[in-house]
C-alpha cells in the first residue's frame, strides 16, 4: 500500500519535472521546491494531486511548501494525515 502510494507520487513528480523541462533525475530525498527545480505553479498541482488522490486536507494543518518538498516529505505528510491524533 505504502509502495503503491510512493510510486504514484514518484510518477507525479516525474511528470511535473518533465512539464517544467527539468531533465535531471531525482531521488526520494531530493528537494523539489526549496531547490528551485519546481515553482509555485507546480506546487498547486501537487496540492490538488494530494487532495484528490489521497484525501489530504491542508485547511486543517496549514500549508507550507516544505510539506511537499520531496517524495519522502509527501510520504510523511500522508502518514501524519492517516494518524489524526498525532501532533502536527
Amino acid at each position: 500500500m505504502t509502495d503503491d502510494r510512493r510510486d504514484k507520487i514518484r510518477a507525479f513528480v516525474r511528470a511535473q519535472l518533465k512539464a517544467a523541462a527539468s531533465r535531471a533525475d531525482f531521488t526520494d530525498t531530493d528537494s523539489l521546491f526549496v531547490s528551485g527545480r519546481l515553482d509555485s505553479v507546480s506546487a498547486v498541482q501537487f496540492v490538488v494531486f494530494l487532495e484528490t488522490e489521497f484525501g489530504v486536507d491542508f485547511t486543517e494543518q496549514g500549508f507550507d511548501v516544505t510539506l511537499i518538498d520531496s517524495v519522502d516529505a509527501m510520504m510523511s505528510l500522508l502518514q501524519a494525515a492517516a494518524a489524526p491524533d498525532a501532533p502536527a
Binding site: 512539464a19 523541462a21 527539468s22 535531471a24 531521488t27 530525498t29 531530493d30 528537494s31 526549496v34 531547490s35 528551485g36 527545480r37 515553482d39 509555485s40 505553479v41 506546487a43 498547486v44 496540492v47 490538488v48 487532495e51 491542508f58 485547511t59 496549514g62 500549508f63 507550507d64 511548501v65 516544505t66
Partner: protein, 495 residues
C-alpha cells in the same frame, strides 16, 4: 542529508563531455572547475575569494564593504556560530544605519511645522528598539499560543494592527507630538512587516531558531528591501552550505553573480546614456505628461519609451538583487537568485517567477497558498484564479501601499487611496494575465518548434509587460483615464 542541487547547478554543464563543449561565457563558470573549487576550500583560496569579493563589492557598497565582507566571511567559516554571527552583524548594521527605510518622523515633523524641534533620527532609532522588543514578544507569544485566535493566523492579525495604526495616524485625532510618534510606529511596522510575518510563520515550524535569531534576519546585513531576500530562518536553515565543498561552490556562485551584477551595471550605464542623453528618448512619465497637456508624442516614440522603461526596470532589479544574493552566498547561504533570465520567460507566470523571485514568494506564501487551500476547493479553475488574484492583485497592492505609505502623510488617506487607482488597475491586469497563463495547459516546447515554442511566447510575454508599463505609475497624481488615453494613443486611437 544530501545537498539539493540549485537550478544553476542543474543547468550547469558537468562532466567530460560538457567540459569539451563548454559554451563561451562572459563570467567563467568557476563553480564547475574542480581545481578552482578545491582551491576555494583551502585557507589561501578562502583569502583570495574573500579579497576578490571585497574588490568587486566596493563599487556597490563603498566604505561599508569591509564590514559586509568580514561579517559574511565570519558567517561562512564559523558555521557553528553562523546564526549568532548573522544576528550580531544585522543588529550592528542596523545600529550604524537604522534609517534604511523612509523617515516618516522627519516628514511628519516637517508637515506639522516642527521639523527643527524634533530629533527625527533619534525618534526612529528609539522606535526601532521598541519595535524589535515587541516583535520578540510577538514571536514568543505565537510560539506559545500558536493554536489560539488571533495568534493562529498571525499575518492576518498583523495586517489588522497595521491598518488600525494607519487609520489612527491619518485621523489627526492626536496632538502634534503623539501624531509624529504614531507615524514613526507606522513607518517602522511597515518597513519590518514582512520580516516579522516570516518570523511568525516560522514559529509553527518543528525546528526553529531562538526568537532573538529570528529578529537577526530582519533586514539582514546582506541587504533587502521591505521584501526579505532569503525569507526567514526557516528557509535559511534549509539552504545553508553544510560542508566545506558545498560552501566553496556556493561562494564561487556568489562571486560569479557579483561579477555579473557589475557587468550589468556597465550595460545599464551605457543603456541609460544612450537612451537618455544620445537618443533623447522620453520617459513614460514625460510621454504621459505630454498626453495630458494635449500635445501627445508620436506613438512610435511612446512605444520606444515603454520598451526602455521595461528594460530599465529589469536591469535595475537584476543589479540590485544579484549583489544582495551574492553577499548571502558568500555568507554560506545557497540562496536562489532574485532574478533569473526573465527575458526567456514563455508565460506571464514564468516571468513573474523569474523577475522578482522573493517578492513573488512573499505574495505566494502570505496570500496565494492561504487562499488556495481554503477557498473554492471544489471549483479548481475558480480556485486558482481567486488565489492568484489575492496574491498578484490584493497582496501586491497592500505591499506597495505599505511601501509608499508616506503618500498618506503627504496627501491624506483619501487622496492617497484615490491616487492608488492606477497601480490597483496595474495589479489587477497583472493578476488576470498570470491567472490566464496558469490556467492555460502547459505544452512541451520541443513539440512546438523554435518559432512557436520559443520566439512567439517570449515576444507575447514581453509585449504584455511593456504595455503594462503604461500603468506602472507611482506618481499618485495622474488618474486612470489619463493612463488609458496614453494606452489608446499607442494604438492610434484618440479619446
Amino acid at each position: 542529508m544530501p545537498m539539493a542541487p540549485s537550478p544553476l547547478a542543474a543547468r550547469a554543464p558537468l562532466g567530460r563531455e560538457a567540459a569539451t563543449h563548454r559554451p563561451w561565457r562572459i563570467i567563467p563558470p568557476l563553480d564547475t572547475y574542480p581545481r578552482v573549487v578545491a582551491f576555494a576550500e583551502t585557507a589561501y583560496g578562502r583569502v583570495a575569494l574573500v579579497v576578490a569579493f571585497g574588490i568587486l563589492l566596493f563599487p556597490v557598497q563603498g566604505k561599508l564593504v569591509v564590514a559586509t565582507v568580514a561579517a559574511a566571511a565570519a558567517s561562512a567559516y564559523l558555521p557553528a556560530y553562523r546564526r549568532w554571527i548573522v544576528t550580531a552583524a544585522t543588529l550592528l548594521f542596523l545600529l550604524h544605519d537604522p534609517s534604511w527605510y523612509p523617515s516618516l518622523p522627519a516628514l511628519a515633523a516637517a508637515k506639522a511645522g516642527v521639523a527643527g524641534s524634533i530629533d527625527a533620527p533619534m525618534l526612529q532609532r528609539g522606535m526601532l528598539v521598541l519595535f524589535l522588543l515587541l516583535a520578540l514578544a510577538a514571536i514568543c507569544g505565537v510560539r506559545r499560543y500558536a493554536r489560539k485566535p488571533p495568534l493562529n493566523r498571525p499575518v492576518r492579525g498583523l495586517l489588522v494592527l497595521y491598518g488600525a495604526s494607519l487609520l489612527i495616524a491619518a485621523s489627526g485625532a492626536f496632538g502634534t507630538v503623539p501624531r509624529i510618534v504614531i507615524w514613526t510606529w507606522v513607518g517602522t511596522l511597515g518597513a519590518y512587516f514582512w520580516f516579522l510575518a516570516y518570523a511568525l510563520n516560522d514559529a509553527a515550524a518543528a525546528q526553529r531558531a531562538p526568537a532573538v535569531m529570528e529578529v537577526g534576519v530582519f533586514h539582514p546585513f546582506w541587504g533587502s528591501s521591505t521584501t526579505p531576500i532569503g525569507k526567514g530562518w526557516a528557509n535559511l536553515r534549509k539552504v545553508e552550505a553544510r560542508d566545506a565543498h558545498a560552501l566553496a561552490i556556493t561562494q564561487l556562485k556568489g562571486l560569479k553573480l557579483l561579477a555579473w551584477s557589475l557587468v550589468l551595471r556597465g550595460v545599464f550605464a551605457a543603456f541609460h546614456y544612450a537612451t537618455r542623453h544620445v537618443l533623447m528618448i522620453p520617459t513614460v512619465a514625460q510621454a504621459l505628461t505630454a498626453q495630458i497637456a494635449g500635445a501627445p508624442l508620436p506613438a512610435y516614440l511612446c512605444w520606444i519609451s515603454l520598451v526602455c522603461a521595461f528594460l530599465d526596470g529589469v536591469l535595475t532589479v537584476c543589479i540590485w538583487g544579484h549583489a544582495i544574493v551574492a553577499c548571502a552566498r558568500l555568507a554560506g547561504f545557497r540562496l536562489l537568485r532574485n532574478t533569473y533570465r526573465p527575458l526567456e520567460s514563455r508565460t506571464i507566470a514564468e516571468f513573474w517567477n523569474r523577475y522578482v523571485f522573493y517578492f513573488k514568494e512573499l505574495l505566494v506564501d502570505f496570500f496565494f497558498y492561504p487562499t488556495f487551500i481554503r477557498c473554492f476547493r471544489k471549483h479548481q479553475r475558480l480556485r486558482l484564479f481567486f488565489a492568484t488574484f489575492m496574491a498578484a492583485c490584493v497582496g501586491n497592492v497592500i505591499w506597495h501601499f505599505m511601501r509608499d505609505v508616506s503618500a498618506v502623510l503627504e496627501l491624506g488617506l483619501t487622496q492617497a487611496v484615490i491616487g492608488f487607482q492606477t497601480f490597483a488597475f496595474y495589479a489587477a491586469a497583472l493578476a488576470v494575465g498570470i491567472s490566464m497563463s496558469q490556467l492555460k495547459p502547459r505544452r512541451d516546447v520541443a513539440d512546438a518548434g523554435w518559432m512557436r515554442g520559443k520566439v512567439l511566447p517570449v515576444a507575447r510575454v514581453l509585449l504584455f509587460f511593456c504595455i503594462l508599463e503604461v500603468f506602472d505609475d507611482e506618481s499618485r497624481t495622474h488618474t486612470l483615464p489619463q493612463h488609458f488615453a496614453l494606452l489608446f494613443h499607442l494604438f492610434g486611437l484618440t479619446v
